[in-house]
């Protein structure tokens, strides 16, 4: 077990990769009452094209399989894992993103038992025709619920523009049609391919004793027999890595009253390693603050002429194989909003130059926000992006952020902002 000490934050991380390949990280937090544990597989909704474990032929699985699998992992022959956590006084949950699926619990008692439940239910698949059929009803309702959510439609809409021929254009949960095609066999093939211990990581944060906890995990894993590791053979490839297939504009009409608009920006840079990727991500975060945060003159001008309002927000997402940023607001001036945002992006160099005096403040603000996350076991564990960021923790992020200078921003702006990568999506009230 390796121990890494972060003196500034009075915090340590303990790491070990077990003999079956599972990566384990433990971060004790003094004074905390609860322990948060999250088991993640490097597998999400975009991983729909692959060669299954120990097979020869590639398959394309229906959209929404990763999320469907997440739901179905809880149900076993004679019990539901959810209830086991309940009996042990823990809260449990799970979620699926484009590139990851995570199972978690949070508890103030019975840590050892809950940990066993987590490892056991995720490592023991059970799928039948009947249970698959039942889940199609529940997930169908979930998909419909999201269909009525304009913010989610806006987000998915811009992804559809940015990646019109890639799996990111589809809802993580799939469609009612696609989940209707899911069978127990598809789930099992997928499970065997992506739920191998070597494709997963376990992160515990909060109240825990590292030595004791690591021993419990090993004890659990050593009792089980795992099939030999085979690195997942994903066939994911962007349709057009140069982003020339981006759809510049689309809109959707809904039964709403406030128009909503989102500008998307797709990046095309490729990275040599996770470290470089993380540095890039943090530099882009700062770049976007320079251009758009509430200390900028741009923001004040657009706020005062009511091009945007307090609903304005922006974000940068770095995922396995792709990255993009988006900027959105409710506004009565949708065209103007898009034009202004695009103008600012395209004049990034001048904007950075003009922000020299503000830069230290912006960086300190970002540092303060990241330090604030250290008070949340969930944030520490959920933010961990595995190999994507070379195993960096939130504390590593803070240390890297401190090294970024304003001069780094020119380069990332040049890499990230290209005319073909820009797109606009609107959600428009039907009675307008």
């Amino acid at each position: 077990m390796d121990k890494q000490v972060y003196q500034n934050f009075n915090q340590s991380i303990y790491r070990e990769q077990l003999s079956n390949g599972l990566k384990v990280q433990l971060l004790p937090m003094e004074g905390y009452h609860k322990t948060y544990a999250i088991l993640t597989t490097d597998f999400g909704s975009i991983d729909n094209h692959f060669i299954p474990y120990h097979q020869e032929e590639a398959i394309t699985v229906p959209d929404g399989v990763a999320h469907f699998l997440e739901h179905k992992m809880f149900e076993k022959k004679d019990h539901d894992a959810f209830d086991l956590f309940g009996k042990l006084g823990a809260d449990s949950n799970a979620f699926t993103s484009f590139t990851q699926t995570s199972y978690l619990f949070s508890t103030t008692s019975n840590l050892h038992e809950n940990l066993d439940v987590l490892l056991d239910f995720v490592q023991d698949p059970y799928f039948t025709d009947q249970t698959v059929k039942k889940e199609q009803g529940i997930i169908g309702q979930e998909i419909q619920m999201y269909e009525d959510d304009p913010s989610w439609r806006l987000y998915l809409g811009i992804l559809g523009n940015l990646y019109p021929n890639d799996p990111m254009r589809i809802d993580i949960a799939g469609t009612i049609e696609s989940i209707g095609r899911i069978t127990p066999k598809i789930l099992m093939d997928t499970y065997k391919t992506f739920y191998q211990p070597a494709n997963m990581n376990l992160f515990l944060v909060g109240r825990l004793d590292p030595e004791e906890t690591m021993a419990w995990i090993k004890q659990n894993q050593e009792q089980k027999i795992f099939a030999p590791t085979e690195t997942p053979r994903r066939l994911f490839k962007l349709n057009d890595p140069t982003a020339h297939d981006v759809i510049p504009f689309r809109s959707l009409t809904m039964d709403i009253v406030r128009p909503k608009v989102m500008v998307g920006l797709r990046g095309t840079k490729q990275f040599d390693d996770g470290k470089q990727r993380l540095h890039y991500k943090l530099a882009i975060d700062l770049l976007l603050d320079v251009l758009f945060d509430d200390t900028s003159d741009n923001y004040l001008r657009l706020y005062n002429n009511e091009t945007l309002d307090d609903t304005f927000g922006y974000n940068f997402e770095m995922q396995r194989g792709f990255h993009f940023a988006y900027f959105s607001s409710d506004t009565d001036q949708m065209e103007r909003f898009a034009d202004e945002i695009i103008d600012i992006l395209e004049s990034a160099d001048q904007q950075i130059e003009a922000a020299r005096t503000r830069f230290e403040g912006i960086k300190n603000a970002e540092l303060g926000r990241l330090i604030g996350l250290l008070d949340s076991p969930e944030a520490i564990a959920n933010r961990y992006a595995g190999d994507l960021f070379a195993g960096a923790s939130l504390m590593d992020e803070i240390q890297i952020l401190e090294t970024i200078t304003i001069d780094d921003l020119y380069q990332v702006a040049k890499d990230f902002i290209t005319p073909q990568g820009i797109s606009v999506y609107q959600v428009v009230p039907q009675h307008q």
């Binding site: 934050f9 003094e30 004074g31 905390y32 009452h33 609860k34 959810f82 209830d83 309940g86 042990l88 006084g89 823990a90 809260d91 949070s106 508890t107 103030t108 008692s109 009803g137 529940i138 309702q141 979930e142 419909q144 619920m145 269909e147 009525d148 959510d149 909060g206 809904m254 039964d255 709403i256 009253v257 406030r258 909503k260 945060d293 509430d294 200390t295 003159d297 004040l300 706020y303 005062n304 009511e306 309002d309 307090d310 609903t311 409710d330 503000r358 403040g361 912006i362 300190n364 603000a365 970002e366 540092l367 303060g368 330090i371 604030g372 250290l374 008070d375 949340s376 076991p377 039907q430």
Partner: protein, 415 residues
């Protein structure tokens, strides 16, 4: 640790080394009236936008950024009939930045609360106009969030026409038109001079220093608030029903029950456990039967409002299943009334509530909320864990039998 700063103004200090951030919460409380909710919400927005020294939100934001991204915001809330304006601030502990942030933040809070951008008895005109527009847009856009909309419409259906509770804590557009830059100054004066004020400071801070720093805030004495926040309503003889149609994929069926069990009543803890069994936890009857077994909904949950005497139920369903779902919800309640639930389920719910309660101590905002509620109703916290464990199956049935269906609201996409 409690200090009295002026009559009706109390400072509560919660020293802890658990967190890397420090937190301040200042609560201004007054009974809600037919007109004050909208005005106070707009006031909160004006106060957080600018001050005399920082006359634009950018100037204020830059000051906050220079304090390591310190965060200060104001918003309104409601606890039963008590309307509250709250200022919340959080900032990195001094030891990470080698700077006395605490001193600077308290100075900024002083600036925000006591030196708003008012000249010649009026708030700054352009700021007022934009903030009024923004609030109008915000209230309008609640229509776009269908789950929220359904819960608002349900409560509107539940509250009687002459009740001030019918006006949401965030206000209403009709009242906004009556406000102006001058009238808001009166709203401000009233809040700063007459509201009950509770200041909470949580973090790694020397209590004596905190007392000295916050004693500088120039609060006047005020008449202590004697009103109870608890809201009582005469039950309807007939269930109030309303259906509305919009272009939605998923229908929302929401129900309101009256449950006259209030915060810290003798059966309050039984009501918490009852709600956990009914629909308040994933081990509840609504979740396991309506969602998991019958596959009729993606969400089906209940919420206890212990200052309002209400339990609400919210579900997302197919419109054609409305009657089936409603019958099923009633059956779940009947089961609880008749003691039809396992000891195992009861224990799961009790453990879950206890786990949530204990885990809540790891979240600063949660600690502050708990303490605030206790101060607003002048009660010291009882031993939560012991009280929850004491609840018996008979207690649950007794509470369940007090539930009375009052309102049913359906938002449907199918005519």
């Amino acid at each position: 640790m409690d200090f009295n700063l002026a009559r009706g103004v109390d400072l509560h200090i919660i020293p802890t080394k658990q967190f890397k951030m420090n937190h301040v919460l200042i609560d201004f409380a007054t009974p809600q009236t037919p007109t004050n909710a909208t005005a106070r919400n707009l006031l909160a927005n004006l106060l957080e936008t600018s001050t005399h020294r920082y006359p634009t939100q950018t100037a204020l934001a830059r000051q906050l950024a220079s304090l390591y991204g310190a965060y200060v915001n104001l918003f309104v809330n409601r606890l039963g009939m008590m309307h509250t304006v709250r200022l919340r601030a959080s900032f990195v502990n001094n030891r990470f930045v080698n700077e006395d942030l605490f001193e600077k933040i308290s100075g900024l809070i002083n600036e925000i609360l006591f030196h708003p951008l008012i000249d010649d008895g009026e708030f700054d005109g352009p700021t007022f106009r934009i903030q009024a527009n923004n609030l109008r847009s915000t209230i309008k856009s609640f229509y776009d969030d269908k789950q929220f909309l359904a819960s608002q419409r349900l409560m509107d259906l539940y509250y009687r026409n002459d009740s001030v509770m019918k006006i949401p804590s965030f206000g209403q557009i009709a009242d906004l038109e009556k406000l102006n830059a001058k009238s808001l100054v009166a709203t401000y004066q009233s809040m700063i001079n007459h509201d009950k004020v509770d200041i909470f400071v949580l973090g790694d801070i020397d209590p004596e220093l905190a007392r000295r720093v916050f004693a500088r805030l120039p609060f006047n004495n005020r008449v202590p608030l004697s009103n109870s926040p608890l809201y009582h309503q005469l039950p309807y003889d007939q269930v109030q029903r309303k259906t509305e149609y919009q272009q939605v994929s998923q229908a929302k069926l929401n129900l309101a029950y009256s449950l006259p069990v209030y915060y810290h009543d003798s059966d309050y803890y039984a009501a918490l456990v009852f709600n956990g069994l009914f629909g308040g936890t994933p081990y509840s009857k609504l979740f396991t039967n309506v969602r998991e077994k019958a596959s009729l909904a993606y969400y089906a949950s209940s919420r206890l409002l212990p200052f309002n005497g209400v339990v609400s139920v919210q579900t997302g369903i197919r419109a054609s299943d409305q009657e089936r779902v409603q019958d099923m919800i009633q059956e779940q309640l009947k089961d609880l009334q008749n003691g039809n639930f396992s000891d195992e389920a009861l224990k799961e719910v009790q453990d879950s509530l206890i786990n949530q309660y204990r885990a809540g101590h790891d979240l600063a905002s949660n600690i502050l909320e708990q303490q605030l509620v206790a101060k607003l109703v002048n009660e010291t916290n009882k031993d939560f864990v012991a009280e929850i464990k004491k609840v018996t199956p008979a207690d649950i049935s007794q509470v369940a039998n007090k539930m009375k269906l009052q309102a049913v609201y359906l938002l449907s996409g199918e005519r």
